[in-house]
Amino acid sequence: MWKITYRVHRQKGNEPPHYETFQVEVDPEEYVLDGVEKIWASEDRSLTFRHACHHSTCGACGMRVNGVEKLTCITKIKDVVQDGGTLTVEPLRNFPVVSDLVVDLGPLYRKMAAVQAPAVHALSMTPWEGQNIAPPADIPMRSADEEYIRLPDCIECGICISACPVAATDPEYFGPAPLAAIQIQGLDKPELLALADSQEGVWRCHSAFECSAVCPSNVDPGRRIMDLRRQVSAKRLKLA
């Protein structure tokens, strides 16, 4: 077991935020979120944080760990701190803070609804698969007219929005995850073309690629935004 210090962002109601430290005994193989839950269970029952699945499928547990956006349920303690060291946990940026480590992801969910991000989609709709994963279209169903349905890669965690320098200055900017959700669908729907090609759409992106650096779920939103720009330009040419 390791003895480490958690330095935790605290904020209740309208009080100004401050940091509080907790000494915790942890197994270094545990995850950052486990340590936060342990602090709640045995040190301070007033600590609030978001979590649900504990295995990177729900998107609830995004926080900044030592200043970097992480999905805390799959970030091992040993990867961000050493025995005897200190690790800092803070809420995501660019969202309203509800309390302590909890942010309101409402703005992201509204945007995901606005771009009609599919909640489930056909397997073949995931165009870029990762290493060692068979191309989805090659996996057959029992009969030719059935297709596998899957949940999308994007877990709507908001981590990309927290890391995005444009989102920091412009809350209206659609941001990485919603634009990536348009890219996945293509631009056949005129309303999606209009959103992508608007003031707050693809042209607002500064190509910082911070989103792709932090996205924990293989979405690679930065690359998708670049591809979406290409799609928008192609549509414009066609329409002109």
Binding site: K12, S56, T57, A60, I74, V102, A119, M141
Partner: protein
Amino acid sequence: MSKPHVIVIGAGFTGTAIAHDLALRDFDVTVVERGPIASGTSGRTHGLLHSGGRYAVKDQESAIECIEENIILRKIVPEVIEPNGGLFVALTESDLAYKETFIQGCEACGIPVDEITPQEALRLEPNLNPKVLAALIVPDGTFDPLRLALSFAASAKKNGATYHLFTEVVDMLLDGQGNVTGVKVWDRANNTRYEIHSDMVVNATGAWVGQITQMAHAHVPITPTPGIMVAYDQRLVNRAINRLNRPSDGDIVLPQRRLAVVGTTSFSIEEVDYVPIDRSQVDLMLERGAELIPAIRQAKERGVYMAVRPLIGASGPGRSISRTFKAYDHKELDNVEGLVTITGGKATTCRAMAEKTVDIVCQKLGLNIPCTTAAAPLTSYREFYSR
């Protein structure tokens, strides 16, 4: 008369499904949850939308509930479900010997079951153990745990339910006779304390129901039995892969987005709020999971997590206790009016649990309002936050 006011404690699958049912039956609903939605057992579920196959031999009551509810959930909340079916596969002679019993069990419970050749099974799931001896297809599915709970929660919200999240019930309000008239809560987000009065309190706190009943000097027999799940970083299967044999440790591999998740185990504990990971169980999941899907050994471990089952029964660990849910009217049990406890069950059966609980609430309040949740499509999970 104004609408009867019901407080629901707990916003896991059970609590959110109850809130939805109550709101549809036109109650005034307040949900009190000490964390965010699905932060107890529900969020940490394996994610198998049971066809009932797993229980078709030993626990047919559960199996029938599962297949009925499986069909309903596919209709009312398709946007959180991968409806791709499931395979039960035999790898040994002992598995093969179980096949006929299993098929008979499924048929007795009304679970459609269809045998395919090992070659066909390997064509459908190329990562399956090539030593497969027999394979049966059943209508299993998988679901996203948080989004299932959020869909029920959003639907209840749309119909007027109010949520107090990060708000813990710290005591019961009792009248002179010891009957429950509301709850005392602590809002952990704002560090404030207040009281909420109601006509009825529903205790849907899963593995924690005992803490709530204690506050009302009532009791309920449940055994907290945790299990482990391990997520690997590759989507190695597209449907639920089950071992064709009696339920045991690590005998299910599921897809979740780009992951494969192996589960689970079953043991007893005392402390429910923080359950440490036992590395020997992680090794067991790898070993057992790799029997079904050998490529798991080449995948990387991505997450390890534990969840606590609220199993019904006075003592003793898990699997032999019936997984059927029970709703308790504490008037009958402890002579305490105003409190109903619901526990046990499964994610797959949460809608039915809610129906039965709200039926009891209606009966206690002398109301005759039918349940309509089986045919009511749920609102998008996104509306819970965006509304």
